[in-house]
């Protein structure tokens, strides 16, 4: 086992940016992690579909941008389809009651709303015996809306729908 390979393996499995401290925790005590990362950045940059990108704080292994679109359908999404579908319904009908969403999406929607709230993509407030749901600023950021105004988001979605 050499330190270069340990850093490579770590960047590969993490699937997210790693800090120097995290990398240092797995290599041998006297390893020059910064030097290793710098040489990996160069090596990956020269050939293949992958790259290692380094910022001040951290470094990440990812697909070079020219290949990203082509392989997107193969990568796993961070929202499961049923949950995503419930989110789409909320975004389009918002502000909308939880019971209305359940009527459209079935009882599983309660679990989905729970997950979407935990992910902070949806927020709710009490509304009679049910709850009123709307998307959050984090939702707008996630999907690249320039605004977090509910009306404008609904309009954009409406336009894209037709």
């Amino acid at each position: 086992m050499n330190d270069r390979d340990l850093v490579e393996a770590a960047l590969f499995v993490a699937g997210r940016p790693l800090t120097l401290i995290e990398l240092e925790s797995i290599v041998s005590i006297d390893a020059d992690v910064e030097g290793i990362v710098a040489s990996l950045v160069k090596e990956y940059g020269e050939k293949g579909a992958l790259e290692i990108v380094q910022t001040d704080e951290d470094m990440v292994m990812q697909v070079k941008s020219e290949y990203a679109d082509a392989v997107r359908p193969i990568a796993q999404r961070d929202l499961e389809t049923p949950v995503l579908r419930t989110l789409a319904v909320i975004a389009f009908h918002q502000p909308v009651t939880q019971s209305k969403v359940a009527e459209i999406r079935g009882n599983k929607a309660y679990g989905h709303v729970h997950e979407l709230e935990a992910r902070k993509l949806v927020e709710s407030e009490p509304h009679g015996r049910t709850r009123l749901l709307r998307t959050t600023k984090a939702f707008a950021d996630y999907f690249g809306f320039e605004t977090d105004s509910l009306e404008e988001i609904k309009q954009s979605i409406g336009q894209l729908l037709h």
Binding site: F12, R16, E80, L84, A88, I104, L160
Partner: protein
């Protein structure tokens, strides 16, 4: 609330009495610590509820027929629960005394990358389109169901002469069991209407509760297999 006996089921009070009795059974299960009311396992509750129903032989007939319907609703919920398990179940805490807890770390998986990517806006829109289509379909289905619901199965069970139906069914089954061990529910249906199906099903439910026959459904929505136990 008392469980079992004390029947003053006069017409108007019948519905209330039924509700009370069914709930009573559940409450007594909870009191005896047989179910945890805060953590209902529908499969377990159904099994225990049915077992208790079988014990309560002295129930007033009308109440008992409603209780059986209640039990069949529980059974339906049970089959739903068995059919699909909510994803959040996956992440529930486990009890520490699981004997396998210590063993599994010894089985080490290969290390692969499990990163997930973000969803795109166009994927969100695609899902919205699908949700809208599904909704339209289910609205049509609901409309069709409404037509069927005008027939009140519960009312029928309540007002008809159940014991008479049970007797009739017993005769019919004895005749068939004389020749073989098992009979299919579909063979017993003379007329393929909702009314006829319910009229055939309810006496069978009674007989099953009295352990005179056994009802089995090999697959969801499949035919019922009737086996003779003690006719």
């Amino acid at each position: 609330m008392t469980s079992g006996g004390g029947s003053d089921a006069v017409n108007g009070a019948a519905q209330e009495d039924f509700d009370e009795r069914s709930i009573d059974i559940l409450v007594s299960l909870a009191k005896n610590g047989e179910i945890d009311p805060w953590d209902i396992d529908i499969v377990d509750v159904t099994d225990r509820f049915l077992a208790r129903v079988a014990e309560l032989e002295k129930l007033d007939l009308r109440v008992s027929s409603r209780t059986l319907l209640f039990a069949s609703m529980l059974l339906r919920m049970k089959s739903d629960a068995l059919e699909e398990s909510e994803p959040e179940d996956l992440y529930e805490e486990e009890s520490v005394e699981d004997e396998l807890q210590a063993c599994f770390p010894a089985l080490k998986s290969k290390v692969r990358r499990h990163a997930k990517r973000r969803v795109t806006l166009s994927e969100l829109i695609q899902e919205l389109k699908k949700a809208t289509k599904r909704k339209e379909k289910s609205d049509v289905r609901r409309f069709m169901q409404l037509q069927v619901q005008e027939f009140d199965a519960v009312g029928l069970a309540h007002s008809e002469d159940i014991e008479g139906q049970v007797k009739h069914m017993k005769r019919e089954l004895k005749r068939r069991f004389a020749l073989r061990d098992q009979v299919l529910f579909s063979e017993l249906i003379v007329d393929n209407t909702v009314e006829a199906i319910v009229e055939t099903y309810i006496p069978l439910l009674f007989m099953a509760t009295r352990r005179q026959i056994q009802l089995e459904q090999k697959e969801l929505f499949g035919d019922l297999l009737i086996t003779c136990k003690d006719l």
